[in-house]
Amino acid sequence: MNSRSNILKKIAENKPASESLPVLRFDDTIHYADKQAQFIKALQNVVAEVLEFYGYAAINTLYKNLQAAGKKIVNTIPEIDDVNNQLPSLSAENLAGVEIAFIKGLVAVAENGAVWVTEEQMQNRLLPFICEHLYLVIERENIVDTMHQAYQKIDTAASGFGVFIAGPSKTADIEQSLVIGAHGPKKTTIIIIN
């Protein structure tokens, strides 16, 4: 506790006179004429695959086909299939072999291809990272211009964990050559529901 009060005391002694916060005019930041087109462009930049479907029925068909092909799939979207209620308590060992996960995104960001997902949607915090191929489902109305509008739409404190995901995991740590599939998914597909 001593260090706490010492640090706070030193700050109080050393900090400069109070400076004011800037006035933030987010309306003056970039707006895209076609948000969806910009979002798709941004997804291509982050090497994500894009599918555009009309309604959940098409996703259902895709899901059934993947199941029929024998894939190890975890679904978290009730519109697609039943959701396993054990999911939140599964460990890393339990989830290690997951090939595909379906998770719903709440907000999508046109400027950078990021999709906001919270603990409620993913059910298990590890799922979007440990699966090999991540499907993120986003409704077209939820695409916003930039991060400013995204943060105005979400409440980060409403869940214990939330993440913006932009494409599959990647690294360029070896000689700056881009390699897709570092520690997280090797592939990410964004399904936009029109």
Binding site: I7, T29, A92, H148, A157, T171, A182
Partner: protein, 467 residues
């Protein structure tokens, strides 16, 4: 000269011409990606201004925001610890680990834990720490330190990585394919992730309003570590605080674009409370930062969000490599921060600079980096620490320039001289050096004239380069 200085160390680095050229050109490419990404955002300059002002506001109310953060974090079930220095930081973390009885753990990238030499400390206690960011893991296997704060292994070639992996995880000898090597690392580290029950991470932003933290990665290694672990320990400097969630939108738009030219990192993870049954700790560290806060000249350096744009643009950094800075944080910002912790040991660093001002031009939080380096030089000289470092710095610059091989790729020494050392073209003998040996000279006006001159030279050659 018992103590390593930048000028001597950089001679080692530039001894390998091909590698030096590659390092230089690669980082210049990253810098150009940053230019392109920022040019796509019409309000880029406004964002920089906002970010700088938000940081200035936060620093001027830092005690308030830290206590608000602590209160909210506690309410979320996070345990908050305070450390005055590196030693206390390490002791706190060891104390937490000891209570859990866990002996092996994963760690994601954190410059703070590097600054505190946490790995060495924990390993001395018999614990096993695995760095999981690919670049960090490579240098951990090689028992090296990061040479860049965002691209830790940028000083290595794929052949080096291949040799290291062959030795440690038995990859095929001479298979230098980055995809093959990355996949091998993925498999190896995945087993470690799955078994590991304790994760140590850094913090990119801590939000006072929510008591939560944000961690940005491309690889997903922080998340792979934390979500599988029973215990999460996050370490942050006091300057990581921002007031509100909405402010994140500004910093996240700036960070990745400035760092690598990406519009955003793959993962921007918001940890607000521990997972059910998980323990979460945050260690808030001073380690010289409050001293910096009290210094009018250098306070602004606490605004830094560690994007490394100033590294990538710096002609001296690109040419001499991170290890020449003999410090955990290299590059222009490191040359401001390191003399604050030990002025004597780091007296040479502010001289490893051409005062070209490019760093200040790219900095997303508008730190006046080159001005602060200039002020350090004056202070170091006044306090008598400059010694031979100034003349050595100048000698090495001359040495680099006198080796045409270094510029082989250009075929035009004069043009490249302009690119790297604009001051030499106009001034055969280094003017700022000479000038400060004559205290009665009109410092201020000369300095203004000089900096102005560098800026315009720099602009000219960059316009040329980019066109």
């Amino acid at each position: 000269m018992g103590k390593p200085v930048h000028s001597i160390l950089s001679k080692n680095f530039i001894a390998d011409n091909d590698r030096t050229d590659w390092h230089d050109e690669t980082l210049w490419m990253v810098r150009k990606k940053r230019d392109y990404a920022s040019s796509q955002i019409p309000e880029w300059e406004t964002l920089r201004q906002w970010a700088s002002q938000i940081k200035a506001h936060t620093l001027s109310n830092l005690d308030h925001y830290l206590t608000v953060f602590e209160k909210n974090a506690n309410a979320n079930g996070i345990q908050v610890h305070w450390a005055a220095n590196a030693a206390e930081h390490n002791e706190i973390i060891y104390g937490i680990i000891k209570q859990t009885g866990i002996s092996s753990m994963v760690k994601s990238k954190s410059m703070l834990t590097e600054e505190c030499h946490l790995n060495e400390y924990l390993q001395d206690k018999g614990l096993q720490v695995t760095d999981t960011d690919l670049g960090e893991w490579i240098i951990q296997l090689r028992k090296e330190h990061p040479s860049h704060i965002v691209l830790p292994a940028i000083h290595l070639k794929k052949k080096d990585v291949s040799d290291t992996f062959h030795q440690h995880i038995q990859t095929e000898k001479n298979n230098n394919d980055p995809k093959y090597l990355t996949t091998a690392a993925r498999h190896h580290l995945r087993n470690i992730f799955i078994k590991s029950k304790l994760a140590i991470t850094g913090v990119n932003f801590a939000i006072a309003e929510t008591g939560g933290i944000v961690i940005c990665t491309n690889e997903g290694n922080a998340d792979m570590g934390v979500h599988g672990a029973a215990v999460h320990i996050a370490c942050m400097g006091i300057e990581k605080i921002i007031p509100e969630t909405l402010h994140l939108s500004i910093f996240l738009r700036l960070l990745a674009r400035s760092a690598t030219g990406q519009a955003i990192t793959t993962y921007s993870s918001h940890f607000t409370s521990p997972r059910k049954g998980q323990q979460m700790h945050i260690v808030i560290v001073d380690n010289g930062r409050t001293r910096l806060l009290g210094n009018n000249n250098f306070r602004n350096s606490l605004k830094c969000i560690r994007c490394a744009a100033c590294f990538n643009t710096c002609p001296v950094y690109r040419k001499t490599g991170g290890h020449s800075y003999h410090s955990i944080v290299a590059g222009p910002i490191g040359s401001i921060l390191n003399p604050n912790t030990d002025i004597k040991a780091n007296a040479d660093l502010p001289f490893a600079c051409t005062l070209c001002g490019s760093c200040s031009n790219v900095c997303p939080v508008k730190i006046d980096i080159h001005n602060q380096l200039w002020i350090w030089r004056q202070q170091i000289s006044k306090e008598g620490y400059a010694g031979k470092t100034k003349s050595l710095s100048m000698k090495v610059m001359a040495y680099i320039l006198s080796h045409p091989n270094v510029y082989r790729f250009s075929g035009n020494v004069f043009r490249m001289t302009l690119k790297y050392f604009p001051f030499i073209v106009k001034n055969k003998l280094n003017p700022w050096y000479r000038q400060r040996e004559m205290p009665e000279a009109p410092k201020k006006s000369f300095r203004q004239w000089y900096i102005q001159k560098q800026k315009s030279e720099f602009k000219k050659q960059h316009i040329k380069k980019d066109s």
